[in-house]
Symmetry: C2
Subunit: 306 residues, 2 copies
């Protein structure tokens, strides 16, 4: 009896791989059914090509997890989760263009403009961005109208000049300047990567009608994992192979881009990433076992190899 | 006495020029204060460069006029009016890019990419598009939350593959094919021009909490003036000078684009435009004098010379 009791009360180890796999299936089903092909077919195909090209689906999963953590449901958050992936995909399509980062491969497949041409790639990005907002506005169910508006505001702020776009501009301006400051590098990444991870977490909480204090705590969590995520990205660009990354490795060094490893070295960069993940996890202390998915995602960020 | 009475009851002729001038001043003030310069300065400057480059401001003015007609106020509609101009500007910036229509001049000034480069021009468009949604969501006052969400949905639908983006794709595909059908030409223009004019009118009515029947009537008005507007645009591309247009005239012929004049000839095109304007005005019969601004705008569309 004692042993049986122990079994019942002992917390089961959280299986992140299984969690991510299950949620990814849900997200990909939702993404697949979010865009139907219509006239002119080519633009819908181009949008679907990049949106359904795989990837970790980390942003949608964070949105779903945070919504559940703060008392909401998967169903309430799914349209926003899809919108986050549409926005992320749009930013990848535009960043990969020849006039920007000029990348030929993404997630192991030719980039959008390599398949459809620069004109269609620009328009596919525009189409995904516009559709993200339409999708949230038309598909979100059982959420207070005020909260849907807050999510729209949050997504808009995150993509625009105050977020992704601003980060990409400073990133482009910093190319060929390997001696930029840590402050500029941090600006680039809090805008380019951090902002959308933050929006993923915050929007999930807004949809669940979470309290301000919870939203702030979760936003701190997101900002910490966002920066850790970028540091690890920079490290992987040096240490991983093309095959592991699904894109060209070593691009940063080639483009003379300042990165965390170039600023701090590999060892200190790894240490900093771990420190950030520890801080992120500390923000979750009040939530107990319910926050296991978010804790596991934070840990995964520093241990991933692609 | 009789004469004085007659003066009082005789409807004063509506002064459209004065109306457009006054409303344009209001819209430009609102646009100017909508975007402040922040870091990185270049992107905000690029966004402001095109947003504040002049133009008729027809879309915002239609939104304000329709909101007032259906019982709302200028203040309720101004954030959406600005968003419509941000969206319109974004579509011009992206359409002008070398990989699309490759235009060097717009509204008498060098196009965005000519001043800031292709990369920044793409990002300025993205920034304006994202900001349009953020602006509606954060700035709209005294409007039911449900109606703000409907406006977001309407704007998203209008920009995306089901609207502007889809129209531009079919337009690009039709280049060098002067023998496309009237049906394809109509698809291009109902999406490229008509959709945003329709959204301008419909969103104004939604914000004022108008009835479904009013929205339908005003949407019919908008679709008719939208097509008339495009026919006149095609005519002006042939008959006007570069100076009048503020952009290169004769581009359609050069690009071997099918246009209404190439399909119908100039005379029949003018006749059709007039017919559409008459139909548009007929939709407004129930509104009496209140609808004079919308009637005058419809008439202006066929008589303008740029």
């Amino acid at each position: 009896m004692v042993q049986a009791d122990k079994k019942l009360t002992e917390p089961k180890k959280f299986d992140l791989n299984n969690y991510l796999k299950q949620k990814k299936v849900l997200v990909e089903q939702a993404l697949d059914s979010s865009i139907a092909i219509a006239r002119p077919e080519k633009i819908y195909e181009a949008m679907r090509y990049s949106l359904l090209a795989g990837g970790k689906r980390l942003r949608p999963i964070l949105c779903l997890a945070t919504c559940e953590l703060t008392g909401g449901t998967i169903e309430m958050a799914m349209p926003t989760a899809c919108a986050l992936e549409m926005i992320h995909t749009m930013s990848l399509i535009h960043d990969d263009l020849p006039s920007m980062d000029n990348d030929d491969f993404r997630r192991g497949k030719p980039t959008n403009h390599k398949v459809y041409g620069d004109d269609i790639a620009i328009l596919a990005g525009d189409g995904l961005l516009a559709y993200a907002f339409e999708y949230v506005a038309t598909q979100t169910q059982n959420v207070k109208a005020e909260n849907i508006i807050k999510v729209v505001a949050c997504l808009g702020h995150t993509v625009g000049a105050a977020g992704l776009v601003g980060g990409q501009v400073l990133d482009l301006e910093s190319e060929g300047k390997p001696d930029i400051t840590a402050e500029t590098l941090s600006f680039i990444h809090t805008h380019k990567t951090g902002a959308l991870l933050n929006a993923s977490v915050v929007s999930g909480a807004i949809l669940a009608d979470a309290q301000k204090a919870d939203i702030n705590r979760l936003s701190n969590y997101a900002q910490n994992i966002g920066l850790a995520f970028q540091i690890i990205d920079d490290i992987l660009d040096i240490t991983a192979t093309d095959e592991q990354l699904g894109k060209t490795a070593g691009k940063d060094l080639e483009a003379q881009k300042a990165t965390y490893p170039s600023l701090w070295g590999l060892e200190k960069s790894r240490f900093k990433a771990q420190e950030l993940v520890d801080s992120a996890i500390a923000e979750l202390s009040t939530y107990g076992a319910k926050a296991e998915p978010l804790r596991a995602v934070a840990k995964y960020i520093v241990t991933r190899d692609r």
